[in-house]
């Protein structure tokens, strides 16, 4: 191998190495435009202001939403109260009828065993009848008949009388005799129709 060639190659490698070092250092040695820090800081400050205003906006939206929710709840409650005022009144205070009935109503009369058993039988649900029908029938239709009329004093007395064992027959018997009495006629006499003689009447006139 020629020593001059070897030296030339070594020199060339060294030159290339130096060139590469210099180029690579230059490659990474870049400077930004002047004022990069201040531009970044200004951008950050603008972003902070934007975030703060967005936060305030979210607070306002949250407050409005809470107010709307509260108003809706209050409105729904008020609406339901207006829709069923009688029910609320019934549950809250007794009516005049109830008070009157309580004052008139005597102590509960013992119902005889026969009558009670008949009532129980009547109240018993048939086997094939569904339970919800009974429930529907048992609840009063307050929307159609808003005020239930309680029994008057006379009606209560009549019910009491009917509940007594001898009262029913006495009442029915009294009614039957009165009806028959109305139909009976003490003295009815129907006389035969008398037709006057025609000839005699004519001669009289002539």
């Amino acid at each position: 191998m020629d020593p001059t060639n070897t030296n030339t190659n070594k020199n060339k490698d060294r030159d290339v190495e130096q060139w590469l070092d210099s180029a690579l250092s230059q490659y990474g040695n870049v400077e930004p435009r002047t004022g990069l820090d201040s531009r970044v800081l200004a951008n950050l400050q603008a972003e902070r202001n934007r975030l703060a205003s967005r936060q305030r906006w979210w607070w306002a939206v949250g407050a409005v939403a809470a107010a709307v929710a509260i108003a809706a709840v209050v409105g729904i409650g008020e609406n339901s109260r207006r829709r069923n005022p009688e029910r609320v009144a019934e549950t809250s205070m007794p009516t005049h009828h109830e008070e009157a009935r309580r004052s008139i109503e005597p102590a509960p009369v013992p119902v005889p065993q026969a009558a009670r058993s008949a009532k129980e039988v009547a109240q018993q649900r048939p086997a094939n009848q569904p339970s919800h029908e009974l429930a529907v029938a048992a609840t009063p239709k307050l929307d159609q008949f808003p005020s239930r009329r309680s029994l008057s004093a006379e009606e209560l007395l009549l019910v009491r009388r009917l509940n007594e064992p001898s009262g029913k027959e006495a009442l029915l018997g009294a009614g039957a005799t009165r009806a028959e009495g109305d139909l009976s006629i003490d003295s009815l006499e129907i006389r035969p129709l008398q037709i006057p003689d025609i000839e005699s009447s004519e001669s009289k006139t002539n």
């Binding site: 490698d13 250092s25 490659y27």
Partner: protein, 197 residues
């Protein structure tokens, strides 16, 4: 009273965080810019990436006071932001990554400027032709502010791997430069046989 004290403390903490971020901008904006430039090779894109790095820190970042090594932390964010931008730019450009502008140091004579421009352009071409892992390790190693340990953390590899990749990248560059120089020498010494087309 307790609420006011808490409020004041929160305000003081927020102010402290703001001050820390502002200090980090003043101290490390240049490094962030250089990292972004080493990837993007364009001053405008590098500045945009720098802005994005600090905006990310402001929006999503952890408390600056809880970061041990702010420089390495910001360098990692800058690297990720720049690589993401490069990918999106490559997608927009149809899959080809354009070479950045040539970098010329001001204050030199015209012949020197021309020489450096040519050198920068040549080096840009050669580096962009390197395989991705070698190129990343070499590019980050050229930044004097970043130690090989920090480069290893940024790339997610060991420090030895960083050194090895940088060495291999330099070897490839040297071989290509030698080949380039030889081809130029041959083209200069060759006699002209006919008119240029």
């Amino acid at each position: 009273m307790v609420g006011e004290a808490l409020n004041l403390r929160q305000k003081a903490l927020a102010q402290n965080e703001e001050d820390l971020l502002d200090t980090a901008v003043r101290e490390h904006a240049r490094l962030v810019y250089r990292i972004a430039y080493s990837v993007l090779r364009n001053p405008s894109d590098a500045e945009d990436a720098t802005q994005e790095v600090f905006l990310r820190v402001l929006r999503y970042g952890k408390k600056m006071s809880g970061i041990d090594d702010q420089k390495a932390w910001l360098a990692r964010i800058a690297w990720r932001v720049a690589v993401d931008r490069r990918k999106s730019m490559a997608k927009l450009a149809g899959g080809t990554e354009e070479a950045g502008e040539t970098l010329v140091a001001p204050g030199h004579g015209a012949d020197r400027v021309l020489l450096e421009q040519e050198r920068s352009a040549t080096l840009e071409r050669l580096i962009s032709a390197l395989p991705g892992p070698l190129r990343d390790a070499l590019v980050l190693s050229t930044l004097e502010e970043i130690a090989p340990r920090e480069v290893a953390v940024m790339l997610g590899i060991s420090e030895a791997a960083v050194r090895s990749r940088s060495f291999r990248a330099r070897e490839i560059l040297r071989d290509r430069l030698v080949a380039l120089a030889e081809s130029r020498t041959e083209s200069k010494t060759e006699p002209r046989t006919g008119p240029r087309t």
